[in-house]
C-alpha cells in the first residue's frame, strides 16, 4: 500500500497534472461518481447545522436560531440514552461476532464440495432468501414464531413450554440476528467464493504433496488466500455498524421487546420523522455518525497494524 509523503518534492504537482492530462479519459469517467458524492453526500452536510439550531421551517436552515449543544444534552440526559446506546452497540457487536464468520465458513464449505452440481444447488438455495423483501421476511417470522406457529409446536412436542419469541425482550436479539444469518449468508459468501476460486490451484497441490489434510489445506491455503477480502469486508461492515437493520428492527419492534429492540436509528425515525423534531434528531443522527466514525478508525487502524490490509 502506498502512503502519501507530505514532503513531496517540487514539481510533483505538475507531474500529477501531466499524468492526469495523459489519461484524461479515465478521469472523465471518475467525474460522474465524484459529482454524485458531492451532490448527495457532501452537499447535505450543509444541513447538519440544524443539529445546533432550533430549526424553524419558516426561517430555513440558515435563518434559524442557534441552540448550541442543547439538543445533544437533551439526548444525553434522556431516560432512553443508555438503553439506545447499549442496544445499538450490542445488536451490532453480536451480529459481527456471530453473523460475520458464517458466510466465510459457508464459502469454504462450498469450495470444498467436489460435486459441482451439488455445490451450485447449495449456493442457490442459500442465497435466494436475500431477494425476499424485509417486510415479507418479517411476515414469515411472525407466522413461524407465533404461539401457534410451527416453531412453538416443535418446542412443545419436544417437551418445552410455549414461548413468545416476538414478544419478549430476551429473544429479540436471537430472532433478529438468526434471521439475518439465514437471509444473508448465501449472498455474502459469493464474494468469498469468488476470492477462493482465484487462489492458485498449484498451492493446493503442493500442500497435498506435503501431506496436508483437508483441514490443514483450508487453514494454510484457503484462509490466507482470502484474508485481505475478509479484512476489507469487515471494515466495510463496521462502516455500516450503527445503521444496519433499521427497517427490520422497526418492523419487529413492539412494546414488549422494546427493552432490547430500541435502537438509535428507530428512535430517530419515531421522534424525528413521525413527530417532526428535526433538530433533535439531527443531533442524535450526528452523534450516531461520530460513534460510527470512531469505530471505523479503530478497526481500520487495528487491521493496518496486524494484517497489512486496510482501507487507507
Amino acid at each position: 500500500m502506498t502512503r502519501w509523503r507530505s514532503n513531496g518534492q517540487p514539481g510533483r504537482t505538475s507531474r500529477l497534472i501531466r499524468r492526469m492530462a495523459r489519461r484524461y479519459d479515465l478521469y472523465l469517467m471518475l467525474l460522474l461518481p465524484m459529482v454524485w458524492y458531492l451532490v448527495f453526500h457532501y452537499g447535505p452536510l450543509y444541513g447538519l447545522q440544524i443539529a445546533f439550531k432550533n430549526f424553524n421551517l419558516a426561517r430555513g436552515i440558515v435563518g434559524s436560531d442557534w441552540a448550541g449543544f442543547e439538543h445533544f444534552l437533551r439526548f444525553f440526559n434522556s431516560y432512553y440514552f443508555w438503553r439506545l446506546l447499549r442496544n445499538t452497540l450490542t445488536i451490532n457487536l453480536l451480529s459481527l461476532l456471530v453473523a460475520f464468520p458464517i458466510p466465510i465458513l459457508l464459502a469454504l464449505l462450498i469450495n470444498e464440495i467436489r460435486n459441482k452440481a451439488f455445490s451450485k444447488w447449495l449456493q442457490n438455495i442459500t442465497y435466494i432468501p436475500h431477494f425476499i423483501s424485509i417486510v415479507v421476511v418479517v411476515g414469515i417470522l411472525t407466522v413461524m414464531l407465533s404461539t401457534k406457529g410451527p416453531v412453538n409446536m416443535l418446542v412443545q412436542a419436544l417437551g418445552g413450554s410455549e414461548t413468545r419469541f416476538l414478544e419478549s425482550a430476551g429473544w429479540f436479539k436471537t430472532v433478529f440476528i438468526g434471521s439475518n444469518i439465514w437471509q444473508n449468508m448465501g449472498w455474502q459468501s459469493i464474494i468469498y467464493i469468488a476470492a477462493l476460486s482465484g487462489i492458485n490451484l498449484q498451492l493446493y497441490e503442493a500442500a497435498k504433496m506435503d501431506g496436508a489434510s483437508r483441514l490443514r489445506r483450508i487453514w494454510h491455503v484457503s484462509l490466507p488466500g482470502i484474508t485481505p477480502i475478509i479484512v476489507i469486508l469487515l471494515i466495510l461492515d463496521v462502516g455500516q455498524f450503527m445503521n444496519i437493520g433499521f427497517e427490520k428492527i422497526l418492523l419487529l419492534q413492539n412494546n414488549l421487546n422494546l427493552e432490547s429492540s430500541d435502537v438509535i436509528s428507530t428512535f430517530v425515525y419515531t421522534t424525528g420523522i413521525l413527530k417532526g423534531e428535526y433538530s433533535y434528531t439531527a443531533a442524535i443522527g450526528l452523534f450516531n455518525s461520530v460513534i460510527n466514525l470512531v469505530l471505523l478508525l479503530i478497526v481500520n487502524g487495528f487491521a493496518r497494524r496486524t494484517s497489512e490490509t486496510s482501507l487507507w
Binding site: A21, M34, Y46, L57, E167, I273
Partner: protein, 531 residues
Amino acid sequence: MRKPWRRNAVWTMVILGLVVSGCSPGAAGGKEANSAAPAAAAATVSKTGYPIVEEPIKLKMFTRIAPVNGPFKDMPVFQDYGALSNIEVDFIETPTDGFQEKKNLLFASNELPDALFRSSLTPLETIRYGTAGQLIPLENLIDDYAPNFKKLLDEYPEIRSGITTPEGHIYALPAVVTLGAARTDKKWINQSWLEKLNLEEPQTTEELYNVLVAFRDQDPNGNGEADEIPMTARASAGSGQGIPVVNMMSGSFGLDQQLGYNINLIDNQVEIWMGSERNKELLVYLNKLYNEKLLDPEVFSHTEAEYLAKQASGKTGFFFDQTNNPFLDIADQYTGIAPPEGPHGDRLQSQGAPVARDFGAFAITSVNKYPEATLRWIDYFYSVEGSTLLRFGREGEHYELKDGIPYYKEEFLKSGNQAKITPYAGGGAPHLISDQVASYINPPQVQEAQEKLDPHMPKVRYAAPMFDEQTAQRVNILRNDIDKYYEEQSTKFIAGAQSFDKWDEFQATLKKMNIDELQQIYQDAYDKMEK
C-alpha cells in the same frame, strides 16, 4: 504540455461539475416559506349560493386514503360537488400506513398542496406549521365564508376553545360530531353466548371476569374447540395514543380521560393518574385477564384488519367499537353493556371524544391562491345537505329518504361498495356528523348501546387544550419520553413481562421524567379554559 487543450478540457469539466453540484437543489437545503397571498381572486368568490366561483378553479389537496376507500376522484360526492361549486379538486392520496411520515415530510420540504383534507394534524403540528406561516389562520375568513361552520361554533362554544390557539388563531378545522353515539366506543358483549350459558349481563368487573371465564371454558359456540376469544380490543395506534384496552376499562377504576390525556379532574384539580394506585389496580386486573387467557394474547400486536376480522368472526365474547358495522352480518348476537362497576364503586364511561372529534381534519396552506373559495368549498360539508352528499352519495342511486332521513338502498349495500364511495369510512374526514346523517352508523342497536353508556358519561368532556408554541414544544418534549415509557411499561405489566414489584420504580421514573411539570402545564391550561 503536449496537449494543453486536453488538460484544459479536464479542468473545465471538473470545475463545471463543482459548480453544477453546488447549485443543485440537493445542496440548497432550506427554502423560505412562501408568504401567504390572499389573492385578488377573492373578489369573484360568492358568499352565498352556487357555484362558489364563476370561473372554474382547480385545487390540489393532500389526503389520507383508508384501505376500505376507493379512489377519491370516483366518489360521487367530489364529482357532483365539483360540478356544483365550479371547484375541481385534485387529490393526492396517501395510504393510512405511512401517512404521518408523508405529512411531516410535506411540510419539511415545503412542497405544499393547496389544502389538507382529512389530515389528522395534531395540535402541536398546527401550531408549529401555523406559526411558521405554512398554514394560514382561518378565524377571520370563517365569519364570511363558512356560514355553516360558524353556526356550529355558535351552537357548541367548546369547539372554538378546542381549536383556537392562545394567540387567537384557528389553523385547522375539525370534524364536528354532534351525535353522541359517534363519540364513544360501545362495549359489545356476545348476547347469544350469555343466553346459552345462562348468564346475566355483567354489572361489575368481578362479574365480567366470571363471564369471561365461562366464555373461555364452556365452549359457548358449541363447536367442541376452545377457539373462543373471551375479550379483545384494538392494538395501539402508535406512540402517544395510549393503550386502547386500558382506555376502554379505566372508567371502572375511577380513571377519567379529560383534556385529551390520562387526566382526572377533581375539584378543578388536574391529576395525571398514570402513576396512581388506581391505575395499578387497573393494570393488575388486566394482567389477571391476560394471564388467564381471557384477554386476547394478540391484543398488543394484531393489525386493525385482523381486529375487525375477529369482530366479524363471531368468536369473540367482549370487545369495543363505535358501531356495529364491522360485524353487521352477526350483529343480532351482540348487545352493548354499561361500563362494569369497579372495586371502589366507580362506573364511568371514560373513553370518549369531544364534539370537535377529529382535530386538524382540514387546513389551508400558504400557497393556496383561493383561500376564501377553499373555505367555502369545505364549509358545505358542515351542513346536513353537504354531509349527506359526502356520506351517502346520490339520492336514488345510493340512498333513499325515509322520514327525511337518508338510508342506504338495500341493493347498494349488497354491492359491497358502501365504504368505497365515501371518504368518511376510515375516519377523520372534515364534516358534520349529526343524527340526521347517521342512519347507517347509528342504527337502533347502536343507539341502545349508547343509552347504556349515557348515564355514566362525565358531565363535561374537555378537549385537549391548545398551548402556545413554546409550551407546546415543552409538552412535546415531556410527553415524548413519558408516553413512550408509560405505554411500554403498562404493556409489560399487563402481559406479565414485568412484575408489579417494579411499580415503585415505575412511579419514581415518571417523577424523574417530570410528570409533575406536565401536570402543572395542564393545570394552567385548564385554569385558563375555566376563566
